[in-house]
Protein backbone atom coordinates (compact mmCIF):
# COMPACT_ATOMS: atom_id res chain seq x y z
CA UNK A 1 0.00 0.00 0.00
CA UNK A 2 1.33 3.41 -0.96
CA UNK A 3 2.10 5.80 1.90
CA UNK A 4 1.29 9.38 0.94
CA UNK A 5 2.75 12.65 2.17
CA UNK A 6 -0.66 13.48 3.69
CA UNK A 7 -0.63 10.22 5.67
CA UNK A 8 2.85 10.95 6.97
CA UNK A 9 1.74 14.47 7.91
CA UNK A 10 -1.19 12.98 9.84
CA UNK A 11 1.08 10.45 11.58
CA UNK A 12 3.39 13.34 12.42
CA UNK A 13 0.44 15.15 13.97
CA UNK A 14 -0.60 12.05 15.94
CA UNK A 15 2.99 11.80 17.20
CA UNK A 16 3.14 15.58 17.75
CA UNK A 17 6.17 16.03 15.51
CA UNK A 18 6.21 18.96 13.09
CA UNK A 19 7.65 17.80 9.75
CA UNK A 20 9.01 20.02 7.00
CA UNK A 21 8.02 19.50 3.34
CA UNK A 22 11.41 17.94 2.66
CA UNK A 23 10.94 15.52 5.55
CA UNK A 24 7.43 14.61 4.36
CA UNK A 25 8.80 13.75 0.93
CA UNK A 26 11.71 11.78 2.37
CA UNK A 27 9.68 9.86 4.96
CA UNK A 28 6.76 9.00 2.63
CA UNK A 29 9.03 6.90 0.42
CA UNK A 30 11.05 5.41 3.25
CA UNK A 31 8.06 4.55 5.42
CA UNK A 32 6.32 2.89 2.49
CA UNK A 33 9.38 0.64 2.03
CA UNK A 34 9.53 -0.12 5.77
CA UNK A 35 5.82 -0.98 5.94
CA UNK A 36 6.16 -3.21 2.88
CA UNK A 37 8.89 -5.08 4.73
CA UNK A 38 6.75 -5.39 7.87
CA UNK A 39 3.92 -6.80 5.68
CA UNK A 40 6.01 -10.00 5.71
CA UNK A 41 4.20 -10.69 9.00
CA UNK A 42 1.01 -11.19 6.98
CA UNK A 43 2.46 -14.29 5.33
CA UNK A 44 2.94 -16.24 8.59
CA UNK A 45 0.14 -18.73 9.35
CA UNK A 46 -0.47 -17.69 12.93
CA UNK A 47 -4.12 -18.28 13.71
CA UNK A 48 -3.36 -20.94 16.31
CA UNK A 49 -0.46 -19.16 17.98
CA UNK A 50 -0.97 -17.13 21.12
CA UNK A 51 0.97 -13.89 21.54
CA UNK A 52 3.89 -14.08 23.94
CA UNK A 53 3.17 -13.49 27.63
CA UNK A 54 5.62 -13.33 30.51
CA UNK A 55 5.74 -16.57 32.45
CA UNK A 56 8.46 -15.60 34.91
CA UNK A 57 7.90 -14.72 38.54
CA UNK A 58 9.06 -11.15 38.58
CA UNK A 59 10.01 -9.40 41.79
CA UNK A 60 7.31 -7.84 43.92
CA UNK A 61 6.33 -4.27 43.27
CA UNK A 62 7.94 -1.81 45.61
CA UNK A 63 5.81 0.37 47.83
CA UNK A 64 4.49 3.46 46.11
CA UNK A 65 6.42 5.91 48.24
CA UNK A 66 7.59 9.30 47.04
CA UNK A 67 11.39 9.60 46.96
CA UNK A 68 13.02 12.93 47.67
CA UNK A 69 15.88 13.83 45.33
CA UNK A 70 18.55 16.37 46.19
CA UNK A 71 18.41 17.83 42.68
CA UNK A 72 15.55 18.66 40.32
CA UNK A 73 14.11 15.34 39.07
CA UNK A 74 12.28 17.03 36.20
CA UNK A 75 15.42 18.62 34.81
CA UNK A 76 13.44 21.67 33.80
CA UNK A 77 14.25 25.34 33.79
CA UNK A 78 10.60 26.35 33.42
CA UNK A 79 9.91 27.02 37.09
CA UNK A 80 7.76 29.82 38.41
CA UNK A 81 6.77 30.30 42.06
CA UNK A 82 7.11 26.57 42.80
CA UNK A 83 5.23 25.47 39.67
CA UNK A 84 6.42 24.14 36.34
CA UNK A 85 5.33 26.54 33.63
CA UNK A 86 4.11 24.91 30.41
CA UNK A 87 2.70 26.47 27.24
CA UNK A 88 -0.93 27.66 27.29
CA UNK A 89 -3.52 24.98 26.47
CA UNK A 90 -5.53 26.97 23.90
Amino acid sequence: MAVTKDQVKHLGWLSRIELSDDELALYAGQIETIIKYLDKLDTVPLQEVKPVVASKKFSDLRDDVAVEFEADPLGTSYRKEGFVKGPRMV
Binding site: E18, I34, G75, T76, M89
Partner: protein, 480 residues
Amino acid sequence: MELFRLDAMQVADGIKKREFSAEEYIQQLLERIDRVEPKVNAFITINRKEAIDKARSIDKKVRDGEPVGPLAGVAVSVKDNICVKGIRTTCASKMLENYVPPYSATVVIRLDDAGAIVIGKANLDEFAMGTTTEFSKHGATRNPWDISRVPGGSSGGSAASVASLECAVSLGSDTGGSVRCPASFCSVIGIKPTYGLVSRYGLVSYANSLEQIGPAGRTVADVTAVMNAIAGSDRNDHTTLDMKPDYSSRVPDRRFRIGIVKEFLSGADPEVAKVVYNAADILTKQGCKCEEVSLGSVEYALASYYTIAMAEASSNLARYDNVRYGFEMSSEGYEWNSYYAKVRSNFGEEVKRRIIVGSYVLSSGYYGKYYLKAQQVRSILKQELKSLFKTYDLLMGPTMPILPFKMGEKIDDPIKMYLVDIDTVVANLAGTPAISIPGGFSGGLPVGLQLMADEFQEQTMLDAASLFESVTHVQRSPDL
Protein backbone atom coordinates in the same frame (compact mmCIF):
# COMPACT_ATOMS: atom_id res chain seq x y z
CA MET B 1 54.54 1.00 32.40
CA GLU B 2 51.59 1.67 30.11
CA LEU B 3 48.81 1.18 32.63
CA PHE B 4 46.05 2.05 30.13
CA ARG B 5 46.75 -1.26 28.35
CA LEU B 6 45.81 -3.35 31.39
CA ASP B 7 42.63 -5.37 31.53
CA ALA B 8 40.17 -4.81 34.36
CA MET B 9 41.33 -7.74 36.48
CA GLN B 10 44.99 -6.70 36.11
CA VAL B 11 44.09 -3.15 37.16
CA ALA B 12 42.19 -4.22 40.29
CA ASP B 13 44.97 -6.64 41.22
CA GLY B 14 47.77 -4.09 40.68
CA ILE B 15 46.00 -1.43 42.74
CA LYS B 16 45.26 -3.82 45.62
CA LYS B 17 48.90 -4.99 45.65
CA ARG B 18 50.04 -1.33 45.50
CA GLU B 19 52.08 -1.94 42.34
CA PHE B 20 50.62 1.35 41.09
CA SER B 21 47.96 3.75 42.32
CA ALA B 22 44.44 4.20 41.00
CA GLU B 23 45.29 7.86 40.45
CA GLU B 24 48.30 7.04 38.23
CA TYR B 25 46.13 4.66 36.22
CA ILE B 26 43.31 7.17 35.77
CA GLN B 27 45.76 9.95 34.84
CA GLN B 28 47.27 7.73 32.13
CA LEU B 29 43.82 6.88 30.80
CA LEU B 30 42.84 10.56 30.64
CA GLU B 31 46.01 11.27 28.64
CA ARG B 32 45.19 8.33 26.38
CA ILE B 33 41.66 9.69 25.90
CA ASP B 34 43.07 13.10 24.93
CA ARG B 35 45.32 11.42 22.34
CA VAL B 36 42.79 9.10 20.67
CA GLU B 37 39.47 10.92 21.01
CA PRO B 38 40.09 13.22 18.02
CA LYS B 39 40.19 10.05 15.90
CA VAL B 40 37.55 7.87 17.57
CA ASN B 41 34.99 10.19 19.27
CA ALA B 42 33.82 7.51 21.69
CA PHE B 43 32.81 9.89 24.49
CA ILE B 44 30.15 12.54 24.94
CA THR B 45 31.29 13.58 28.42
CA ILE B 46 34.58 12.87 30.19
CA ASN B 47 34.40 12.85 34.00
CA ARG B 48 37.91 14.10 34.73
CA LYS B 49 37.46 15.55 38.17
CA GLU B 50 35.04 12.92 39.50
CA ALA B 51 37.25 10.09 38.20
CA ILE B 52 40.40 11.47 39.85
CA ASP B 53 38.51 12.12 43.12
CA LYS B 54 37.23 8.53 43.19
CA ALA B 55 40.72 7.18 42.34
CA ARG B 56 42.21 9.11 45.28
CA SER B 57 39.55 7.75 47.64
CA ILE B 58 40.34 4.19 46.50
CA ASP B 59 44.07 4.76 46.98
CA LYS B 60 43.38 6.01 50.50
CA LYS B 61 41.32 2.92 51.30
CA VAL B 62 44.11 0.67 50.01
CA ARG B 63 46.65 2.53 52.16
CA ASP B 64 44.35 2.25 55.19
CA GLY B 65 43.80 -1.47 54.60
CA GLU B 66 40.05 -1.08 53.97
CA PRO B 67 38.15 -3.30 51.51
CA VAL B 68 37.98 -1.78 48.00
CA GLY B 69 35.84 -4.19 45.94
CA PRO B 70 36.53 -6.62 43.10
CA LEU B 71 36.69 -3.85 40.49
CA ALA B 72 38.86 -1.48 42.54
CA GLY B 73 39.99 1.43 40.41
CA VAL B 74 38.78 -0.10 37.13
CA ALA B 75 37.79 2.59 34.61
CA VAL B 76 34.37 2.04 33.06
CA SER B 77 32.64 4.06 30.36
CA VAL B 78 28.85 4.23 30.64
CA LYS B 79 26.59 4.59 27.62
CA ASP B 80 24.99 8.02 27.71
CA ASN B 81 21.45 6.63 28.09
CA ILE B 82 22.27 5.25 31.56
CA CYS B 83 21.96 7.76 34.41
CA VAL B 84 24.95 8.74 36.51
CA LYS B 85 23.98 11.15 39.28
CA GLY B 86 25.10 14.71 38.70
CA ILE B 87 26.56 14.01 35.24
CA ARG B 88 24.80 15.02 32.04
CA THR B 89 22.86 12.17 30.39
CA THR B 90 22.00 13.28 26.86
CA CYS B 91 21.07 10.11 24.93
CA ALA B 92 23.01 11.87 22.12
CA SER B 93 19.91 14.00 21.59
CA LYS B 94 19.07 17.68 21.46
CA MET B 95 15.96 16.74 23.51
CA LEU B 96 18.07 15.86 26.58
CA GLU B 97 21.09 18.09 26.01
CA ASN B 98 20.74 19.72 29.44
CA TYR B 99 19.48 16.77 31.47
CA VAL B 100 21.43 16.10 34.65
CA PRO B 101 19.91 13.11 36.50
CA PRO B 102 19.44 13.46 40.27
CA TYR B 103 20.07 9.73 40.75
CA SER B 104 22.27 6.92 39.41
CA ALA B 105 21.07 3.79 37.65
CA THR B 106 21.20 0.65 39.81
CA VAL B 107 23.97 -0.80 37.60
CA VAL B 108 26.06 2.34 38.16
CA ILE B 109 25.55 2.20 41.94
CA ARG B 110 26.57 -1.47 41.92
CA LEU B 111 29.72 -0.81 39.87
CA ASP B 112 30.57 2.08 42.18
CA ASP B 113 30.15 -0.20 45.21
CA ALA B 114 32.49 -2.71 43.51
CA GLY B 115 35.15 0.02 43.28
CA ALA B 116 34.84 0.88 39.56
CA ILE B 117 35.37 4.45 38.34
CA VAL B 118 33.08 6.04 35.74
CA ILE B 119 35.56 7.74 33.43
CA GLY B 120 32.99 9.10 30.98
CA LYS B 121 29.70 8.84 29.18
CA ALA B 122 29.93 6.94 25.91
CA ASN B 123 28.51 8.01 22.55
CA LEU B 124 25.51 6.22 21.01
CA ASP B 125 22.91 6.50 18.31
CA GLU B 126 20.25 8.95 19.51
CA PHE B 127 18.10 7.19 22.13
CA ALA B 128 19.94 3.94 21.22
CA MET B 129 18.21 3.75 17.83
CA GLY B 130 20.74 2.69 15.24
CA THR B 131 23.37 0.19 14.18
CA THR B 132 26.31 2.46 13.46
CA THR B 133 26.52 5.31 16.05
CA GLU B 134 26.20 7.72 13.13
CA PHE B 135 22.86 9.04 14.43
CA SER B 136 24.35 11.02 17.31
CA LYS B 137 23.97 14.74 17.89
CA HIS B 138 27.51 14.57 19.24
CA GLY B 139 28.88 13.36 15.87
CA ALA B 140 29.60 9.80 14.79
CA THR B 141 31.95 7.45 16.62
CA ARG B 142 34.57 5.84 14.36
CA ASN B 143 35.81 2.27 14.30
CA PRO B 144 39.28 2.20 15.93
CA TRP B 145 40.36 -0.58 13.53
CA ASP B 146 39.69 1.67 10.52
CA ILE B 147 38.42 5.15 11.23
CA SER B 148 36.74 5.37 7.82
CA ARG B 149 34.34 2.66 8.99
CA VAL B 150 31.48 2.48 11.50
CA PRO B 151 32.05 0.95 14.95
CA GLY B 152 28.57 -0.62 15.04
CA GLY B 153 25.83 0.56 17.31
CA SER B 154 24.01 1.69 19.10
CA SER B 155 26.58 1.29 21.91
CA GLY B 156 29.37 2.26 19.50
CA GLY B 157 31.07 4.57 22.02
CA SER B 158 31.11 1.77 24.60
CA ALA B 159 32.81 -0.81 22.38
CA ALA B 160 35.12 1.71 20.68
CA SER B 161 36.29 3.12 24.03
CA VAL B 162 37.17 -0.41 25.22
CA ALA B 163 38.98 -1.34 21.97
CA SER B 164 40.82 2.02 21.93
CA LEU B 165 42.16 1.44 25.49
CA GLU B 166 40.32 4.50 26.80
CA CYS B 167 38.80 2.38 29.59
CA ALA B 168 38.88 -1.25 30.68
CA VAL B 169 35.18 -2.10 30.48
CA SER B 170 31.93 -0.43 29.52
CA LEU B 171 28.20 -0.61 30.08
CA GLY B 172 25.91 -0.52 27.07
CA SER B 173 22.27 -1.34 26.43
CA ASP B 174 21.09 -4.01 24.00
CA THR B 175 17.59 -3.70 22.50
CA GLY B 176 18.19 -5.53 19.21
CA GLY B 177 21.94 -6.16 19.31
CA SER B 178 23.23 -2.80 20.49
CA VAL B 179 25.99 -4.22 22.70
CA ARG B 180 26.86 -7.26 20.55
CA CYS B 181 26.99 -5.44 17.19
CA PRO B 182 29.65 -2.89 18.19
CA ALA B 183 31.49 -5.57 20.20
CA SER B 184 31.69 -7.58 16.98
CA PHE B 185 32.78 -4.63 14.81
CA CYS B 186 35.42 -3.52 17.36
CA SER B 187 36.79 -6.99 18.33
CA VAL B 188 35.76 -6.92 21.98
CA ILE B 189 33.36 -9.04 24.04
CA GLY B 190 29.75 -7.91 24.52
CA ILE B 191 26.93 -9.53 26.47
CA LYS B 192 23.16 -9.25 26.23
CA PRO B 193 21.92 -10.86 29.46
CA THR B 194 18.66 -12.78 29.94
CA TYR B 195 15.66 -10.47 30.23
CA GLY B 196 15.17 -9.91 33.96
CA LEU B 197 18.75 -10.61 35.05
CA VAL B 198 20.03 -7.01 35.15
CA SER B 199 18.13 -4.00 36.49
CA ARG B 200 17.17 -1.28 34.03
CA TYR B 201 16.36 1.30 36.69
CA GLY B 202 18.03 4.46 35.42
CA LEU B 203 18.20 3.35 31.78
CA VAL B 204 16.35 5.78 29.51
CA SER B 205 13.53 3.69 28.02
CA TYR B 206 13.36 2.87 24.33
CA ALA B 207 11.65 -0.57 23.99
CA ASN B 208 11.03 -2.01 27.44
CA SER B 209 10.04 -5.55 26.47
CA LEU B 210 13.34 -6.05 24.60
CA GLU B 211 16.16 -4.11 26.21
CA GLN B 212 18.79 -5.16 28.75
CA ILE B 213 21.94 -3.49 30.04
CA GLY B 214 25.10 -5.48 29.33
CA PRO B 215 28.89 -5.16 29.59
CA ALA B 216 31.65 -4.85 27.00
CA GLY B 217 35.26 -5.76 27.78
CA ARG B 218 38.47 -7.15 26.31
CA THR B 219 38.51 -10.47 28.21
CA VAL B 220 35.93 -12.99 29.36
CA ALA B 221 37.18 -12.51 32.93
CA ASP B 222 36.51 -8.76 32.73
CA VAL B 223 32.92 -9.04 31.47
CA THR B 224 32.28 -11.83 33.98
CA ALA B 225 33.42 -9.56 36.82
CA VAL B 226 31.09 -6.80 35.59
CA MET B 227 28.19 -9.25 35.32
CA ASN B 228 28.85 -10.39 38.89
CA ALA B 229 28.68 -6.78 40.04
CA ILE B 230 25.52 -5.74 38.16
CA ALA B 231 23.31 -8.86 37.88
CA GLY B 232 20.58 -9.67 40.36
CA SER B 233 17.21 -8.47 41.59
CA ASP B 234 16.46 -4.83 42.19
CA ARG B 235 13.40 -3.52 43.97
CA ASN B 236 13.36 -0.55 41.61
CA ASP B 237 12.95 -2.78 38.52
CA HIS B 238 10.01 -5.11 38.89
CA THR B 239 11.08 -7.16 35.84
CA THR B 240 14.21 -8.43 37.62
CA LEU B 241 14.11 -11.93 39.08
CA ASP B 242 14.89 -12.77 42.66
CA MET B 243 18.43 -14.11 42.25
CA LYS B 244 22.09 -13.13 42.74
CA PRO B 245 24.32 -15.16 40.42
CA ASP B 246 28.04 -15.67 40.84
CA TYR B 247 29.66 -16.45 37.50
CA SER B 248 33.07 -17.97 36.88
CA SER B 249 35.44 -17.23 34.00
CA ARG B 250 37.62 -20.31 34.54
CA VAL B 251 38.23 -22.50 31.49
CA PRO B 252 35.74 -25.35 31.95
CA ASP B 253 36.32 -29.09 31.85
CA ARG B 254 33.00 -29.78 30.19
CA ARG B 255 32.50 -29.72 26.44
CA PHE B 256 29.44 -28.42 24.63
CA ARG B 257 26.86 -29.46 22.08
CA ILE B 258 26.69 -26.52 19.72
CA GLY B 259 24.11 -25.92 17.00
CA ILE B 260 25.33 -23.76 14.11
CA VAL B 261 22.27 -21.86 12.89
CA LYS B 262 22.23 -22.22 9.10
CA GLU B 263 19.84 -19.27 8.63
CA PHE B 264 22.44 -16.99 10.29
CA LEU B 265 25.04 -18.09 7.75
CA SER B 266 23.03 -18.41 4.56
CA GLY B 267 22.83 -14.66 3.98
CA ALA B 268 26.19 -13.76 5.53
CA ASP B 269 29.23 -12.37 3.74
CA PRO B 270 31.34 -15.47 2.79
CA GLU B 271 34.32 -13.91 4.58
CA VAL B 272 32.28 -13.71 7.79
CA ALA B 273 30.98 -17.27 7.34
CA LYS B 274 34.56 -18.51 6.90
CA VAL B 275 35.54 -17.15 10.33
CA VAL B 276 32.50 -18.81 11.94
CA TYR B 277 33.25 -22.22 10.37
CA ASN B 278 36.87 -21.86 11.43
CA ALA B 279 35.71 -21.17 15.00
CA ALA B 280 33.50 -24.27 14.85
CA ASP B 281 36.56 -26.30 13.80
CA ILE B 282 38.54 -24.91 16.74
CA LEU B 283 35.77 -25.81 19.21
CA THR B 284 35.38 -29.27 17.65
CA LYS B 285 39.12 -29.89 18.11
CA GLN B 286 38.59 -29.01 21.77
CA GLY B 287 36.00 -31.76 22.07
CA CYS B 288 32.79 -29.82 21.42
CA LYS B 289 30.19 -31.29 19.10
CA CYS B 290 29.18 -28.76 16.42
CA GLU B 291 26.44 -29.45 13.88
CA GLU B 292 24.15 -27.44 11.65
CA VAL B 293 20.63 -26.68 12.88
CA SER B 294 17.68 -24.74 11.53
CA LEU B 295 15.78 -21.89 13.20
CA GLY B 296 13.04 -21.41 10.61
CA SER B 297 11.24 -18.40 12.08
CA VAL B 298 14.36 -16.23 11.78
CA GLU B 299 12.82 -15.20 8.46
CA TYR B 300 10.15 -13.24 10.34
CA ALA B 301 12.25 -12.12 13.29
CA LEU B 302 13.34 -8.79 11.88
CA ALA B 303 9.81 -7.70 10.90
CA SER B 304 8.60 -8.74 14.34
CA TYR B 305 11.45 -6.94 16.08
CA TYR B 306 11.07 -3.64 14.23
CA THR B 307 7.29 -3.65 14.69
CA ILE B 308 7.59 -4.13 18.46
CA ALA B 309 10.60 -1.83 18.93
CA MET B 310 9.08 1.04 16.96
CA ALA B 311 5.67 0.65 18.64
CA GLU B 312 7.26 0.76 22.09
CA ALA B 313 9.52 3.66 21.05
CA SER B 314 6.59 5.78 19.85
CA SER B 315 4.96 5.30 23.25
CA ASN B 316 8.09 5.78 25.38
CA LEU B 317 9.25 8.91 23.60
CA ALA B 318 5.88 10.64 23.96
CA ARG B 319 7.13 11.94 27.31
CA TYR B 320 9.55 14.42 25.73
CA ASP B 321 7.52 17.62 25.71
CA ASN B 322 10.33 20.06 26.56
CA VAL B 323 8.53 21.14 29.72
CA ARG B 324 10.38 18.40 31.55
CA TYR B 325 14.03 17.58 30.67
CA GLY B 326 14.06 20.16 27.90
CA PHE B 327 16.33 22.52 26.01
CA GLU B 328 15.90 26.28 25.93
CA MET B 329 12.92 27.26 23.77
CA SER B 330 10.35 29.81 24.93
CA SER B 331 6.71 28.77 24.79
CA GLU B 332 5.57 32.36 24.20
CA GLY B 333 3.25 32.53 21.19
CA TYR B 334 2.52 28.80 21.10
CA GLU B 335 -0.41 26.77 22.40
CA TRP B 336 0.30 23.31 23.85
CA ASN B 337 0.03 21.15 20.74
CA SER B 338 1.94 23.46 18.42
CA TYR B 339 4.70 23.92 21.02
CA TYR B 340 4.86 20.19 21.62
CA ALA B 341 5.07 19.45 17.87
CA LYS B 342 7.65 22.20 17.29
CA VAL B 343 10.07 21.12 19.99
CA ARG B 344 9.74 17.47 19.00
CA SER B 345 10.86 18.31 15.48
CA ASN B 346 14.29 18.46 17.17
CA PHE B 347 14.47 14.69 17.45
CA GLY B 348 16.98 13.34 14.92
CA GLU B 349 16.03 11.76 11.61
CA GLU B 350 16.08 8.11 12.71
CA VAL B 351 14.16 8.73 15.94
CA LYS B 352 11.43 10.61 14.07
CA ARG B 353 11.22 7.82 11.51
CA ARG B 354 10.79 5.17 14.22
CA ILE B 355 8.19 7.17 16.16
CA ILE B 356 6.14 7.66 12.98
CA VAL B 357 6.32 4.00 11.93
CA GLY B 358 5.48 3.07 15.53
CA SER B 359 2.39 5.26 15.37
CA TYR B 360 1.47 3.67 12.02
CA VAL B 361 1.61 0.05 13.27
CA LEU B 362 -0.41 0.91 16.35
CA SER B 363 -3.04 2.85 14.39
CA SER B 364 -6.67 1.79 14.52
CA GLY B 365 -7.19 -1.11 12.09
CA TYR B 366 -3.51 -2.02 11.88
CA TYR B 367 -2.89 -3.32 15.41
CA GLY B 368 -3.94 -6.90 14.54
CA LYS B 369 -2.04 -6.80 11.26
CA TYR B 370 1.29 -5.77 12.74
CA TYR B 371 1.74 -5.60 16.51
CA LEU B 372 -0.32 -8.66 17.43
CA LYS B 373 1.30 -10.75 14.66
CA ALA B 374 4.74 -9.57 15.76
CA GLN B 375 4.01 -10.83 19.28
CA GLN B 376 2.83 -14.15 17.84
CA VAL B 377 6.07 -14.52 15.87
CA ARG B 378 7.84 -13.92 19.15
CA SER B 379 5.97 -16.90 20.63
CA ILE B 380 6.97 -19.17 17.75
CA LEU B 381 10.59 -18.09 18.03
CA LYS B 382 10.64 -18.83 21.76
CA GLN B 383 9.14 -22.27 21.20
CA GLU B 384 11.66 -23.07 18.46
CA LEU B 385 14.55 -22.00 20.65
CA LYS B 386 13.23 -23.98 23.64
CA SER B 387 13.10 -27.06 21.49
CA LEU B 388 16.67 -26.54 20.16
CA PHE B 389 18.03 -25.98 23.67
CA LYS B 390 16.76 -29.43 24.66
CA THR B 391 19.41 -30.88 22.33
CA TYR B 392 22.08 -28.17 22.26
CA ASP B 393 23.83 -26.22 25.03
CA LEU B 394 24.49 -23.31 22.71
CA LEU B 395 23.58 -21.93 19.32
CA MET B 396 26.28 -20.27 17.26
CA GLY B 397 26.58 -17.99 14.25
CA PRO B 398 28.09 -14.67 13.26
CA THR B 399 27.07 -11.69 15.41
CA MET B 400 26.83 -9.51 12.31
CA PRO B 401 26.33 -10.94 8.81
CA ILE B 402 28.77 -8.42 7.29
CA LEU B 403 32.10 -6.77 8.01
CA PRO B 404 32.26 -3.23 9.45
CA PHE B 405 31.23 -0.98 6.56
CA LYS B 406 32.16 2.55 5.49
CA MET B 407 30.71 5.55 7.29
CA GLY B 408 27.69 6.87 5.42
CA GLU B 409 27.32 3.72 3.32
CA LYS B 410 23.85 2.78 4.58
CA ILE B 411 22.71 5.94 6.30
CA ASP B 412 20.24 6.95 3.56
CA ASP B 413 18.62 3.54 3.27
CA PRO B 414 16.83 2.51 6.49
CA ILE B 415 15.89 -0.99 5.33
CA LYS B 416 19.48 -1.81 4.33
CA MET B 417 20.55 -0.62 7.77
CA TYR B 418 17.86 -2.65 9.59
CA LEU B 419 18.68 -5.87 7.70
CA VAL B 420 22.11 -6.19 9.29
CA ASP B 421 20.42 -6.76 12.70
CA ILE B 422 19.03 -10.10 11.54
CA ASP B 423 21.25 -12.29 13.74
CA THR B 424 21.05 -10.28 16.94
CA VAL B 425 17.32 -9.49 17.31
CA VAL B 426 16.43 -13.14 18.01
CA ALA B 427 17.84 -13.07 21.56
CA ASN B 428 15.96 -9.86 22.36
CA LEU B 429 12.65 -11.19 21.05
CA ALA B 430 13.07 -14.43 23.01
CA GLY B 431 14.52 -12.80 26.15
CA THR B 432 17.46 -15.22 26.05
CA PRO B 433 21.15 -14.38 26.66
CA ALA B 434 23.76 -13.97 23.92
CA ILE B 435 27.42 -13.04 23.78
CA SER B 436 29.63 -11.72 20.98
CA ILE B 437 33.27 -12.79 21.20
CA PRO B 438 36.11 -11.86 18.84
CA GLY B 439 36.23 -14.68 16.28
CA GLY B 440 38.98 -13.48 13.99
CA PHE B 441 39.66 -10.99 11.20
CA SER B 442 39.06 -10.69 7.49
CA GLY B 443 41.15 -8.16 5.60
CA GLY B 444 42.09 -6.51 8.89
CA LEU B 445 38.47 -6.09 9.97
CA PRO B 446 37.01 -7.84 13.05
CA VAL B 447 34.44 -10.63 12.89
CA GLY B 448 32.38 -11.44 15.99
CA LEU B 449 31.15 -14.87 16.90
CA GLN B 450 27.73 -15.02 18.56
CA LEU B 451 26.87 -17.69 21.12
CA MET B 452 23.29 -17.94 22.37
CA ALA B 453 22.10 -19.93 25.38
CA ASP B 454 18.80 -20.76 27.05
CA GLU B 455 17.33 -18.40 29.65
CA PHE B 456 19.64 -17.76 32.63
CA GLN B 457 22.33 -20.07 31.19
CA GLU B 458 24.89 -17.24 31.15
CA GLN B 459 27.46 -19.54 32.79
CA THR B 460 27.31 -21.98 29.85
CA MET B 461 27.84 -19.07 27.46
CA LEU B 462 30.77 -17.71 29.50
CA ASP B 463 32.30 -21.20 29.78
CA ALA B 464 32.30 -21.67 26.01
CA ALA B 465 33.68 -18.13 25.53
CA SER B 466 36.48 -18.89 28.03
CA LEU B 467 37.30 -22.13 26.24
CA PHE B 468 37.46 -20.37 22.85
CA GLU B 469 39.50 -17.50 24.29
CA SER B 470 41.98 -19.92 25.89
CA VAL B 471 42.88 -21.55 22.56
CA THR B 472 42.74 -18.51 20.25
CA HIS B 473 44.59 -15.22 20.30
CA VAL B 474 42.32 -12.74 18.56
CA GLN B 475 43.64 -9.20 18.90
CA ARG B 476 41.42 -6.94 21.00
CA SER B 477 42.81 -3.46 20.37
CA PRO B 478 44.47 -1.87 17.34
CA ASP B 479 47.44 0.50 17.13
CA LEU B 480 46.09 4.02 17.25
